[in-house]
Symmetry: C2
Subunit: 119 residues, 2 copies
């Protein structure tokens, strides 16, 4: 795996959250997270690619027809990155969040923490 | 050391950043960070209480008469917390940042990452 920029990693991260096809989603997840990578937010936790893919699939079922879009960032320094996203449906954003992550040497994410902004 | 709430920890964190007396600052740092705790932002890195205290002292010399005040949060889930702060002088805020941290079982911070908001 070649080293990728953090911009590419975050774009791939959002693409994974939006990919409905499980096989394509797994491929995007593999380009986004290290093998032992994890995700943690106030409502969910997942460790490893399979668990992350299952979590994303469950969120997609909860919000059919919605898409995650980058709202600001990524803003990175050292091996840390933050960015904000909107979950957008036909009527506009239904959720706004900020994600913080640690980044591996190859540019993939080790550990992602999500926070939800107050509406 | 007894377990403290994250609100107390973050209040103590900001008090440490504002404490000019090195001995009192060290005491506040000991209540804020675990012994192996660290701090990392775009301009500085410090690991352990002594290095953190030296870093805070250097920032205080750079911004005499300024104070760090909590702007929002803390917002915590699992063992993670985020909050925003303003560095305020006589003419108002001169810097705005968001800090993200991992929290130990006793309520102290293990690892703090600071980001600066664009002015």
């Amino acid at each position: 795996m070649t080293t990728q920029t953090i911009d590419t990693t975050i774009a791939t991260y959002l693409a994974a959250w939006n990919e409905l096809d499980p096989q394509r989603r797994e491929a995007l997840i593999a380009r986004t997270w290290t093998e032992d990578g994890d995700y943690l937010d106030p409502q969910a936790a997942a460790a490893g690619h399979d668990a992350i893919s299952a979590l994303i699939g469950a969120v997609q079922e909860q919000f059919p027809g919605h898409r995650f879009v980058l709202a600001s960032g990524p803003d990175a320094h050292n091996d840390r990155v933050r960015f904000t996203w909107h979950l957008v449906g036909d009527a506009g954003p239904v959720a706004v969040g900020i994600d913080f992550a640690t980044v591996a040497d190859d540019g993939r994410l080790r550990s992602v923490t999500g926070f939800l902004e107050q509406p």
